[in-house]
Amino acid sequence: MSQRLEFRPEADDAVNDEGEALRFMRPHFGEEKFPWVQIWGYVGSLVLTFAALILVVDHVLPPLALLSVILTLAVGQAALQLGVFMHIRESRGLAWQMIFLGMVLLMGVGMVGMSIWIMTFKSGVS
C-alpha cells in the first residue's frame, strides 16, 4: 500500500524536462500511517477561529487594529487549509496551481483593496 504513494520524480518525464528554476513547483506527496496532519489541521483551524472570536467579543484592541489582526488570522487559516487539506504541492507533473494561486492572490487583494481605496474619495464611505 505504501508503494502506491511513493513518488519518484525520475519516473515522470514532465518533471525532468524542466530546469532548476521551476524546482519549487516539483510535486511532493505526503504519506502518513495515521491522519495526524488532518487532525492537527482541524485543531489549528478551530483555534484560529475561536481566537478571532474571543478577540472580537472582548474588544481587546482598537477597531482598525482588531480588524487587521482577525484578517491576519483568516489568512493564516486559508494557508492552513491549502497546505494541510488541499494537497497544494501534489500534481502529476509540475504543480502549476501554485502559479495560478499566486496570480489570483495578487488580483484578489488588488481588486478588494483598490475598490475600498477608490470609494473613499468623495463618498460617504470611509
Binding site: M1, R4, L5, E6, F7, R8, A11, D12, P27, F29, E32, P35, Q38, I39, G41, Y42, S45, L46, T49, A52, L53, V56, V57, H59, P63, L66, L67, I70, L71, L73, A74, Q77, A78, Q81, L82, V84, F85, M86, H87, E90, S91, R92, W96, Q97, F100, L101, M103, V104, M107, G108, M111, V112, S115, I116, M119, G124, V125, S126
Partner: protein, 206 residues
C-alpha cells in the same frame, strides 16, 4: 471523427487520481476554475466592503447579526472540511467503506450548515431586513447567498459522486472526481472563513 485513440499513460508511482494522464489534467483544470471563483468572491467582497456602512433606514450589521448561529455554521463547515480531508485520506488507502462514511458525514454537516444559514436568513427577513432595504443588505445577501448556493450545489454534486463510487469503485475517474470535490469543499471553507471574519466579526466591531 476518426482520430486514433491515444493509449492512456499510466503512472504507477502517484496516487490513483493522478495516475491517468487525462484525468490528472482535469485536476489542474479544476484549480483554474477555483481561481476564477476566487475572482467572483473578490468582487462580491469588494461590493460588500464598499456598501457595508450604507444602511439607509435598515438595521446596521451590529444590530442585525447574532454570533451564536454563525459560530454553529462555522464549526459545522470546519468539521466538514476535516471529514472530507479524512475521506481523501481513506481514498488514498483504497478504503472504500471508510471513504463513503466520511463523505456521507461531510454531506450531512454541509446540509446542517445550509439549514442553519437558511434559518438565519428567514429570521432576518421576518424582522424586515430584506435585501431591498439597504445597500448593506443587498451586498450581504449576495455575498453570503452566493457562498450558500455553492455549498448547496456541492452537496448535490457529491451525491452524484457517491453513487458513482458505490457502483464503479475507486477508479482513476471516480478518485479524480472525489479529489476535485475535496478541493471545492476546502475552497468554500476558506471563503466562509473570510465571510465569518469580514462580515460577521467585523460587523460586531464598533
Amino acid at each position: 471523427m476518426n482520430l486514433p485513440v491515444e493509449e492512456p499513460k499510466l503512472n504507477p508511482h502517484v496516487p490513483t487520481e493522478f495516475s491517468d494522464e487525462k484525468e490528472s489534467v482535469k485536476i489542474t483544470g479544476f484549480w483554474m476554475f477555483l481561481v476564477t471563483d476566487v475572482l467572483i468572491f473578490a468582487s462580491l467582497f469588494s461590493s460588500y466592503a464598499v456598501f457595508k456602512n450604507q444602511v439607509a433606514q435598515g438595521p446596521t450589521a451590529n444590530q442585525l447579526f447574532t454570533l451564536g448561529p454563525v459560530i454553529l455554521e462555522t464549526v459545522l463547515l470546519l468539521t466538514s472540511s476535516f471529514t472530507i480531508g479524512l475521506a481523501i485520506y481513506a481514498m488514498r488507502k483504497q478504503n472504500k467503506a471508510a471513504l463513503m462514511t466520511w463523505l456521507i458525514l461531510t454531506l450531512l454537516l454541509g446540509a446542517g450548515f445550509v439549514t442553519a444559514e437558511v434559518h438565519d436568513f428567514v429570521t432576518f427577513v421576518s424582522a424586515g431586513a430584506t435585501w431591498h432595504k439597504s445597500a448593506f443588505l443587498s451586498g450581504f445577501y449576495i455575498l453570503v447567498g452566493t457562498h450558500g448556493a455553492h455549498v448547496t450545489f456541492g452537496i448535490i454534486w457529491a451525491l452524484t459522486i457517491l453513487i458513482q463510487v458505490a457502483r464503479r469503485g475507486l477508479t482513476a475517474v471516480t478518485t479524480r472526481k472525489l479529489f476535485t470535490f475535496s478541493l471545492y469543499w476546502h475552497f468554500l471553507d476558506i471563503v466562509w472563513i473570510f465571510i465569518f471574519t469580514f462580515v460577521y466579526l467585523n460587523g460586531k466591531i464598533v
